[in-house]
Symmetry: C2
Subunit: 340 residues, 2 copies
């Protein structure tokens, strides 16, 4: 398979994406290739700089596709997708659509990725709305999927059901979870909680035979590992995701401050570091260890890499893209949901 990698649009573009691709090759199947999309001269020059070799001397599994423009976070998504034809992200979508790649990864403007996924790649027939899906940590280390995280601020009943079904297929086919439990994000666990739409969604999800419905779940219990999928409207999903990120970052900062404030603390922290506890803790807390955010419900596998992604994150997302393709998620969605 061939994975299309947008080297632009991230905070650490293109350096960390080039490094991630070259260093990530070993973790992928031998037949998997990568297309780096970005300014050809810059990419070549950077490779020379980082590895003191030309790309051809390093590997024949990576090629470069030139793109002279970039979609930034300041661009208006619809306009950028329509007008910036030479932007790396647009070229990525075009290649994906034309079948020159099996999966597309970008760390750029999330709104533009959603618009491009919808308009250029297209939603799967029968899927009312695609969803942006984040993978978040749980205490047991297996993680869970939260969707929708911002693609749809207003949802209909069918969206909740299809979100649950699509996520179930992903968790089964890609993460090999059996019969993953699905929770409906709500302000209480009782069936009669929340808005009218959520009460109906609770009923509709309970009636589905192809999902394992757990019931309503509060934000507080999402990280316990009792459910592997949490479905919600894009607005509340985005709030939950960003709040989790925010409190995670805040607690990390506080931890760092406290570990370096006094000499005695520094000694304790040094011993903890030597024991490996700090590294393990960081790994467990770090949601980028779980991969990027997926766009489910479109015709091809598309992954949004974290905007602040570094080479190590790019490596994880490349592996995730390979698994996404191998899991035949798009085909399964077409067969099991869209054809109904």
């Amino acid at each position: 398979m061939n994975i299309l990698l947008d080297t632009m649009g991230g905070d650490n573009s293109p350096d960390e994406f080039i490094k991630g691709a070259i260093e990530g090759l070993d973790g992928l199947e031998k037949t998997t290739t990568i297309t780096l999309i970005g300014d050809e001269n810059i990419i070549k020059q950077k490779i020379k700089e980082f590895y003191n070799k030309d790309l051809e001397e390093i590997t024949d599994r990576i090629t470069i596709k030139h793109a002279s423009d970039v979609i930034t976070n300041h661009d208006v998504p619809t306009e950028a997708i329509k007008n910036k034809k030479d932007a790396s992200m647009n070229i990525g979508f075009d290649l994906l659509k034309q079948g020159e790649g099996d999966s597309f990864i970008s760390a750029g403007n999330t709104g533009a990725i959603l618009v491009g996924g919808l308009l250029k790649v297209g939603r799967i027939k029968g899927i009312d709305r695609p969803a942006l899906c984040a993978l978040l940590p749980t205490i047991d280390g297996q993680g869970f999927m939260l969707l929708d995280c911002g693609a749809n601020t207003n949802c209909k009943l069918i969206n909740f059901v299809q979100f649950a079904q699509m996520a179930t297929i992903y968790m089964e086919n890609v993460l090999e979870m059996e019969n993953p439990a699905v929770g409906l994000l709500n302000i209480g666990s009782e069936e009669e909680k929340g808005t009218e739409l959520l009460k109906e969604a609770n009923k509709a999800l309970k009636e589905q035979e192809d999902i394992n419905f757990y019931g309503n779940i509060e934000g507080r219990y999402m990280f316990d590992g009792d459910v592997r999928i949490v479905v919600t409207e894009g607005f509340s999903g985005n709030i939950a995701l960003k709040t989790a990120e925010g409190i995670g970052l805040t607690l990390s900062k506080m931890l760092k401050e406290e570990l370096t404030k006094k000499t005695l603390s520094k000694i304790g922290a040094g011993i903890l570091k030597a024991s490996g506890a700090i590294t393990t803790l960081k790994k467990r807390m770090d949601y980028s260890e779980y991969g990027g955010a997926l766009l489910l419900g479109v015709e091809k596998p598309i992954i949004k890499c974290h905007g602040s992604g570094k080479a190590k994150d790019v490596k994880i997302v490349l592996k995730q893209a390979e698994d996404f393709v191998n899991g035949k998620v798009v085909d399964a969605i077409k067969e099991r949901i869209a054809k109904k």
Copy 2:
């Protein structure tokens, strides 16, 4: 002043509430008294057991008001407030209404506190809907107020404006913050983000002269201390609050696990503990250090103590109740908002 304290309905009732009251007296003004509401015999017996003295021998600033029933978390709020006339929470609301107390604290059923506050104590004339307001940690230790956290799942424009105004008064009068910045919780910082209602709310908040509007704020940045008030609808507020609690608890558990997994880690953790870093960190992360959740927009100060509250939390909330009364928040809301 007299503070009414419901000793029932919490996870650690009545023990921790009795202890919190007796041990919290020193932190309050000498003229402040407390009424403990609960089973008189049990309270007397517990005091004897804990302090080997009768209440009269300990202090004359605490009295007991007998209540033979309890509202539990399994009770349906409206029914419990209507029918369980002898429940400690209902007696608390009655005493507050009758002027036999200046403020009421309960750790019981949140829904029942909202219903009781509305039906028994009553909303301030001119305030469309009261809000449940949580105080959450920021990196600088000053905290911020998130409202509404679940009292109103569907809001109108006026609610956003009044939430911002009421919270501003509280932060100024009680926490002595000058001109606290108000953010509108949204999925992006740009004005045109979010639902139609949120776009209108953004415009309406910008036009208010009595608040310091910061603009939209994402969940990710709430904890940075750039804003002191975050307004939102009750549904998303509840999701944000519970998600923050959930991720906080999860990270604490992970930290604890990593600090005790290996011998070397235990040694490092022991040194960190001795340095005071662990205690300080716990304190900074612990939202109960910031007090309980407030009900703003009703005729009297009402505070919801955390359900899992212990004596140390009760002490903090008692002080908070005293500050709430001294800050004349209800009067200021009447004068500055409701009379407009």
